[in-house]
């Protein structure tokens, strides 16, 4: 049922508009003394919420080991084709991890192409690629913004991880039932 809104005729004072203007002036005056909402950006930084999708980086496990096994799922899922991986074997000398998995020889993320969708993080079976909280990224050339593996690890660092997959795999391999 339609609700009838009762519109009272304006009083004489309201016809002059002056009370309304004074009311408006009061509102803006209270704003004058309110706390300012401006964030003075370069000095003050906004609080980044959890799950924020900043730049994608590679991370290492708490023991400082490379997590990526160059399965290339992120490369395939990446909508703007920003990721390029050259898979490689882990050399024999590395007794910690040899024969267990592969590792990327090259890992490139083109930050100019990246759209921060987070698909790579979602698809990664090893939880090796994470979107960080860095949201401002700039450089002087296009080449500079194609991030190589080393740089990606530098920015990414180490994230807390409760799986310790490499340890599990190694103990499984020692027990003789690798995969």
């Amino acid at each position: 049922m339609a609700k009838v809104v009762d519109r009272k005729p304006l009083t004489w004072a309201e016809h002059t508009y002056l009370p309304q203007i004074v009311g408006g002036l009061k509102i803006t005056l209270t704003n004058l003394f309110r706390k300012k909402v401006t964030l003075q950006y370069p000095e003050e930084r906004p609080v980044i919420p959890d799950g924020y999708r900043g730049i994608p980086t590679l991370v290492k496990d708490p023991n400082g080991r490379e997590k990526c096994v160059s399965c290339q799922l992120c490369e395939f899922v990446c909508p703007p084709k920003a990721i390029r991986i050259t898979p490689g074997a882990i050399p024999e000398e590395n007794t910690e991890r040899a024969h267990i998995e592969k590792a990327p020889q090259e890992f490139e993320i083109n930050m100019l192409r990246c759209i921060y969708c987070g698909f790579c993080q979602e698809v990664c079976p090893e939880e090796a690629i994470f979107l960080q909280d860095t949201f401002s990224l700039s450089g002087y050339s296009r080449e500079e913004l194609v991030f190589q593996k080393q740089k990606l690890y530098e920015i990414g660092g180490t994230l807390p991880d409760k799986h310790f997959k490499w340890d599990k795999k190694r103990s499984a391999a020692h027990a003789g039932n690798a995969h």
Binding site: L25, L29, N31, K36, T38
Partner: protein, 373 residues
């Protein structure tokens, strides 16, 4: 050289010096009005406003420097510098002569009006009080009204010379608006003049006379609130301030008459507009707020009769002017713009009849009052 000739030359030279000083102060206040506009606008909207500009040496003084930087006190320098050093393209389709002339014509009346505006008092060696004013002419108010309405020529000329649609609309609106509100403004001033020129008064049409008349009695804003209101509304319209900024109307006319202007020519329009606001505020405080008079309802006079008293009177007058400038800015960031037809309706159908009614009312009141004395 004869003493009389020497005296004359000194007088002329001193007049130039005084004029330069007054113009410098007016331009200074104008520049900082522009800053105040941006700053107050920011505060009213919950922002901080300009606070980044810094002069190399001054800004590095420990506490004062960052404070001044935070207040944006160096911003006007940056603004002015930007206007000065920008390239000045002249569009191919404009009428070159009038296009160049228009900013000058807008600027000159804005600066000329300040000559008749008194801003303080001084006492000569025998203790007679004089106004501090560049030209203390008898018909100051008439002169000011005449010159300030010349400002519209700059706008109309700019609108026409730009030879494109939006500036043209802006120019037309501006002239219509100026004509409409000038009438109400002048008619609302007549009761003020009648009130000040009672029997035995020598106020005449000079600002100083009207201030003197208010010094010993009520300020006119309390004696004639309706006149003050009409004058204030008309003043907003005359200075092209929101809610009456028909000539500019950024949202619908791009920039109105200044659409085709850039760099320093735009800057001149800009400064002229704000100079009008400063002078308008000064005129309102002289006519209705008692100028440098200290308190509204008493003849209490705290100023000692020497140079210090003069400085105090100037200071108190500037306080009033700055409060009014703040009021101008405050209104601008509170009210939306009127529609064009609403502006015309308010001007012709409300303000003018109201001003005439006000005139008749005060004529009767004063006639009865004078008859019964």
């Amino acid at each position: 050289m004869e003493p009389a000739t020497l005296q004359l030359l000194t007088d002329i030279l001193l007049t130039f010096v005084y004029a330069g000083a007054v113009i410098a102060v007016l331009m200074g206040i104008t520049m900082y009005t522009v800053l105040a506009e941006r700053k107050v606008c920011g505060w009213l909207q919950g922002r901080i406003g300009p606070n980044r500009t810094a002069l190399p040496i001054i800004a590095s003084i420990p506490i004062i420097g960052p404070f001044m930087r935070g207040l944006g006190l160096f911003q006007p320098l940056a603004d002015g510098g930007k206007f000065l050093f920008k390239e000045e393209p002249i569009p191919a389709h404009v009428n070159k002569v009038y296009y160049q002339l228009a900013p000058v014509i807008a600027m000159v009346p804005a600066l000329l009006t300040v000559t008749v505006v008194p801003f303080g008092v001084w006492w000569d060696s025998v203790g007679v009080k004089h106004p501090l004013v560049l030209a203390n002419i008898e018909i100051g108010i008439l002169f000011l009204l005449a010159i300030s309405s010349l400002g519209v020529y700059g706008i109309v000329m700019a609108g026409w010379a730009a030879n494109s649609k939006f500036p043209f609309m802006g120019g037309i609106r501006s002239s219509a608006q100026m004509i409409s509100y000038e009438l109400a403004m002048v008619v609302s001033l007549l009761p003020v003049l009648m009130w000040s020129n009672g029997p035995g008064s020598t106020a005449g049409l000079s600002f100083y006379g009207i201030v003197t008349a208010q010094e010993n009695g009520w300020w006119l804003i309390f004696a004639q609130p309706l006149s003050a209101l009409i004058f204030l509304v008309a003043l907003f319209a005359e200075t092209n301030r929101l809610p009456f900024d028909m000539p500019e109307s950024e949202t619908e006319l791009v920039g109105g008459f200044q659409t085709e202007y850039g760099a320093f020519k735009f800057g001149m329009f800009f400064v002229a507009e704000y100079a009008h606001i400063v002078v308008g505020s000064a005129v309102f405080s002289l006519l209705f707020l008692g100028g440098w008079d200290f308190l509204p309802f008493s003849s209490f006079n705290p100023y000692p009769e020497n140079w210090f008293g003069s400085l105090l009177s100037i200071g108190w007058f500037l306080v009033k002017v700055c409060s009014l400038i703040f009021f101008f800015i405050w209104i601008r960031w509170t009210l939306p713009r009127f529609r064009y037809d609403q502006v015309m309706n308010i001007g012709w159908k409300i303000l003018l009849p109201l001003a005439i009614g006000n005139l008749i009312f005060y004529t009767l009141i004063l006639a009865i009052y004078d008859a019964n004395r």
